[in-house]
Symmetry: C3
Subunit: 314 residues, 3 copies
């Protein structure tokens, strides 16, 4: 069966640990290459540097051939549907596609109809599973477990793909998730209000301060905050960083709005794992692509069973 990677919600805990374990092994130098010439294509319908480049590095490290696809110069300009675009790529021999698209759950029109695995590189305000997985890898790397950790997700929950995916999966893995940020930006769809904390409290309690990007480009009406106001009220200022617990860390999916979500000088401070997250992104994507391609070849040839215990013992 094709192993798409669409949302973290639909990944079982075992599957999550399997991906993390492969990612960990790739980081340690594991080599895995599919046989023969395998083509991948990255379809990004929204601007992206790190996700797109990260997938490209991951694909090339696995020895895949990456077919170049720029939306601006494609037949999408002639009105071709996403389905027909993917089906075209399938017909010419592409074996796996990564898609970022501004439409929520764009993949619903593809699954069951295309014969190649789809890896979701972000859909609308919905999901961004490889971002969640790289966050998980970064946290696990730091603390060796999820149980007992308190993760504060701070900021623009409503517009954040990351927040939704992460809150769900972290809870399932045994962590406690709390939220902070502008109260207006919360709604029942995005968060359980009993988990809401004032910003200073969230920062003090958390083992992981996970900041979200203010998505200027998605806010329909003009924001009620200036950048400076946002920083003072909800950002990780120099003062708030000093309130953090001794071994707690700072995460952010990037691109960072410096001096908005986080003080400029904290981006690369000792607690920050922001660039570490990006590095881990490559390994997580290698693992996700490996999983998809193995599903094409008719079965995982990898025999190890994965569990939290195995991951720990590596």
């Amino acid at each position: 069966m094709l192993q798409h990677l669409l949302t973290t919600n639909e990944l079982k805990v075992d599957e999550i640990y399997q991906i993390l374990s492969d990612a960990h092994n790739f980081k340690k130098g594991m080599e895995w290459h599919p046989e023969g010439k395998i083509f991948a294509a990255n379809l990004f319908f929204e601007p992206s540097t790190r996700t797109k480049s990260s997938f490209e590095v991951a694909e090339k490290r696995l020895g895949l051939d990456v077919i170049h696809f720029e939306v601006l110069t494609s037949s999408v300009q002639k009105g071709e549907t996403l389905y027909d675009t993917v089906k075209t790529l399938e017909s010419i021999g592409v074996k796996t596609v990564v898609i970022r698209h501004d439409q929520d759950r764009y993949f619903d029109e593809l699954v069951g109809k295309v014969n190649i695995p789809i890896i979701n590189g972000g859909d609308g305000c919905g999901h961004h599973p490889t971002q969640s997985l790289l966050d998980l890898m970064t946290i696990h790397q730091e603390f060796g477990q999820f149980a007992g950790l308190k993760i504060a997700i701070i900021g623009d929950i409503r517009h954040s793909r990351v927040a939704r995916s992460n809150a769900d999966v972290l809870t399932r893995l045994g962590a406690e998730v709390i939220f902070s940020g502008p109260e207006d930006w919360f709604d029942s769809r995005s968060a359980d209000m009993s988990k809401y904390r004032p910003i200073d409290q969230a920062v003090q309690e958390a083992d992981v301060v996970m900041l979200l990007r203010v998505q200027h480009e998605r806010h329909q009406q003009k924001s009620s905050f200036t950048a400076n106001e946002y920083h003072k009220q909800y950002g990780l200022t120099l003062e708030r960083e000093k309130m953090m617990k001794q071994d707690s860390i700072i995460m952010h999916p990037a691109p960072v709005n410096r001096n908005v979500e986080i003080a400029d000088s904290l981006v690369e401070c000792k607690r920050s794992r922001i660039f570490k997250q990006m590095e881990n992104g490559v390994y997580v994507r290698m693992a996700a692509i490996k999983r998809s391609i193995e599903s094409l070849e008719g079965g995982n040839q990898y025999e190890t069973t994965y569990s939290e215990r195995v991951l720990h013992s590596i």
Copy 2:
């Protein structure tokens, strides 16, 4: 002598069969790789998904290195001519270029002046030889020959690169070509009016119903049809499909305007070879590139003589 691929009109019947035979062999798994590092560049001055990606897959399957060229970010933006652009690529070591350009016969300013083979990926409303060749491959694959077949080309003949190239070459190969579609869209340049048939008759008589794309982007004045009207009057509706001969097939160069040229549910019906055409496109392009690169190396090292008989016996 450099083997450009500019139009199907200038290909001799022998050359056509040679390309089809190579394409057929590539499909069967033939390996052919030029010696050393060979660079190719794809210059697409118009949006394209399938042609551009198909060439890229073909090039990479042959082991070529593909240099990335995006018109939007090239010196074409500073007013550089096509000749200077191609000459630049030649100077930096590119050994073959694929070009799509909106100007009819853009290649006339290049041939005889550049020292690398040019493969025409479509010029204006003129020619699109690899599309013709993939159509031929698809028909030959189905029927084993061209003689005795009746091919109905239906639609926007005047604006179709494909129609012109295909009608000519199919006739030379022994097939009978008939036309249908809006009478206004015909002219003496594009078709012999004695070959025009009302749509229902064309569909009933044909072994191959070859639909053309309504090229909204090329019609200067607003079309006199709504999409729905076009579909009813000239499209392959569910009703018309039922009139087709038992073993006749449906072809379309894509991208398809669903429910305009063809009913949505027929795009992937049993008769449809639309995605098969795309798959064959890769093999035909591999054959065209092989032919061009062999001409660079000073002579075809391939000794087989090609003929219809040989192709049949494979």
Copy 3:
């Protein structure tokens, strides 16, 4: 220590000869490949055909993997800084970046803060070191030395990256540089006015007539010349070419404005080295990349000492 390539001014004479020697050897067929999978990225914030493609060919000939980066579809569109973009690429494993940017000395915000070498592909109106180096290679190839040569740089000195870099380095290498072109376009920053010559005199005296591109896109106010006037007053016309010394050569960084800086039919005349320059550009870039990557690996493993004498004896 990281070997960035930022400006020719900061290259010592020995370093210049080392790069030219490597370039020369690459042209003669020298193979050099870094160990393992090395990723490079080309960040072009301005349109470019030849520089970008030339770097891509150079990288691929060295066996590097090139990560695709299009500014138009990157997070730069979301306001990401250059520093964060480069740091992101570093985090995902890119080992060398080539950057063209419209801001003068954009690299000042990167050097000392990023851990991968930067190769300047042109900054604002400032520097374009690989263009200078390919000019040097072309001159050296022709004359075997720099001492005693008279080089006339003609045209839009003020807006030319190339003029500034070249005048400085050629003087250091022992050549005499003179200037010509519209007097209005000179200023004390760009040239020593005692070196200014009327156009006819410059063309007659020079061993190398180095024409500069009229950078329409950088002139703020409408130019005071028509293309035709410019050609007559300051261009290399058919008449002026006849005044040139017997073995003198014509150079131009391209893209050429035909019949502006140079008569159309002279672009590929016997004296012209314009396409030779482009060819040499690949070798010079291979040498520059080799130098950068060797600095990453902790020291130049290449033991030859380079000097003009060594270059001559090859």
